[in-house]
């Protein structure tokens, strides 16, 4: 009789499937983790019309699917899902549960962790197994200034939410097969106490900044309104959007829509140009998802300069102007 394999569970967050790939990304990482601890990759799916997703998850690496289908689960339900996940986990005792750090996941995971009396690390940017066989959860804090490596030594399951885009999904392979374990809705499933009155996809109003591949952010170091206005010219040449820090918005150099910060927009560009920004936590917390940061500041020790991939010690406005000139030259030729 083979020993029961240790379950590495990934929650099937299928809402918004085409934009939200985090479940697939987690399945791919789960496969690599499974190799290290002789684990079994499973996906957990609660819903109604979900057969299509079950097939996708198997094609992307799930060896087993725990499935609960019911008309009441047509929309995500926080309390019912928490209840179902708790019951399932108590019955099957998984080693690890991974949940994508979507808005839903970030609210769902802590509840499940609390019910199961275990620990949870949020928004991980890395996962690994160490020599002791423990899941090492790498989580950022302080606006990305710090990364902590966290383990859950004793309690089980080990739980983590993972930032979308951290891992790469593996290409689908429809030849793969997997086992589907159906669980009916149990007796005593509680009613959902939060009533969903209306849900509509909201148009990306001003989502340009949040979705922009290139962002040009300006701070106090840019100086005056005239100098700050040059950033718009630069952004246009770069097919990007302009963001601003709070002092700049307060001084009227940019509108509130441009605010990049905890009280404003979160950005995740491929390239972030940061002009004259010192890097207060409220700001960096909203832009540490940027893949490549070029910061320009007279102060080489500014927090933003330390976080940048390229730190240019110079007058922000001058570099902006020079960049514009050079870009115009190159794009023309």
């Amino acid at each position: 009789m083979s020993a029961k394999k240790r379950g590495i569970w990934v929650f099937g967050d299928y809402r918004n499937y085409f934009q939200n790939r985090v479940t697939l990304q987690l399945l791919s990482r789960a496969q690599e983790l499974a190799k290290k601890i002789d684990g079994e990759v499973c996906a957990v799916v609660f819903g109604h019309d979900v057969d299509e997703y079950v097939g996708e998850y198997i094609a992307h690496g799930a060896e087993k699917i725990y499935l609960t289908k019911h008309p009441d689960l047509k929309h995500y339900s926080m309390e019912i899902y928490t209840f179902l996940m708790e019951r399932l986990a108590r019955r099957e005792n998984p080693e690890i549960i991974l949940i994508g750090a979507t808005a839903f996941g970030r609210e769902f995971a802590p509840r499940v962790a609390k019910r199961l009396g275990t620990g949870l690390t949020a928004d991980c940017i890395g996962l690994d197994i160490n020599e002791e066989g423990l899941l090492v959860q790498m989580a950022p804090s302080f606006g990305g200034n710090l990364v902590a490596e966290i383990v859950t030594p004793e309690r089980r399951p080990q739980m983590a939410t993972v930032r979308p885009g951290t891992f790469q999904e593996i290409p689908h392979n429809y030849v793969r097969t997997g086992e589907v374990v159906r669980t009916p809705m149990p007796e005593g499933t509680p009613a959902e106490r939060v009533r969903l009155i209306r849900s509509e996809r909201f148009p990306q109003r001003g989502g340009k900044l949040e979705d922009a591949k290139v962002v040009v952010c300006g701070g106090r170091g840019m100086g005056s309104k005239k100098k700050f206005a040059k950033l718009f010219e630069l952004a246009e040449l770069l097919n990007g959007e302009v963001g601003a820090t709070r002092p700049v918005v307060y001084a009227g150099l940019a509108g509130h829509d441009s605010l990049v910060g905890q009280a404003g927009k979160q950005i995740r560009p491929q390239i972030l140009f940061s002009f004259g920004i010192s890097g207060a936590i409220q700001h960096t917390a909203a832009c540490h998802d940027a893949r490549f940061i070029i910061a320009v500041n007279k102060n080489p020790n500014a927090s933003m300069m330390k976080q940048a991939d390229v730190a240019i010690v110079a007058d922000a406005s001058q570099i902006c102007t020079t960049l514009i000139q050079e870009l115009k030259r190159r794009i023309r030729s």
Partner: protein
Amino acid sequence: MLKMVVCMKQVPMASELPWDAATGTLLRNLAEGMINPACRSALEAALRIKAAEGGEITAITMGPPMAEEVLHEAIALGADRGVLLTDRKMAGADTGVTSYTLARAIEKVCPEFDLILCGFATIDSETAQVGPQLTEELAIPGVAYVDEIEVCGRTIRMQRRSDNFLETLEMDLPGLITVTTGVHAPHHVPLGGLQAAFDKADILSLAAEELGLDPERIGVKGSATRILNVYSPTAAKKNLVLTGAPKRIVEQLFERFDDKLGGAIGKDLKTGKRS
């Protein structure tokens, strides 16, 4: 008339973190503290409800003795009283333990609460976990990331954005919400309010024993997670530093990264010619 509890956290004010490279720890006590911005928004939301519907606000915070400042600021802004949970034994708590501690305190000081408000996340730990876990500890319904709130008797109606969906939700009280920073932008602390807050000093300080907390369940001992290592990717980051004349800097930038930049903006930035 709503009995409200606002959970607040004092977070470091510094944007440049004092980092002790020798011990690899954060010198938290060197940085001045401030109210976490999202917690300020939660208080702001409670104040608006109080202004519209009437009510009472208890501000509660868990932290070292210095965290008491947060309560005075909350009272200056309009909270009615403050509760400080402070005890050496509570240090090092993870969110599971924090929510356990807060729950027991709320049961003690405001057992007949109608609405608990928390900030959606802190700018230091950024987990966004305490709100939902507090909901579970108190076995009440809860909604996170709430943008707008409307009170209709014993029900509240909320609007929020959740993963590309604009949702309108309803919940019967007692319940808990975590509040985002957009709609409930906080305003500055009035000075007269501060003076009055310190004169009145309606602040209660509670330690673990007074809360009847199980010592095995609090602090570092009670925490399920353990931090193995903390490092500063910024300190360790080998970044490229460019100095000198702007023209030369920009030249170097393109020399090394013209592909990367070009790829991101979808244009060809290579040039064979040199000006």
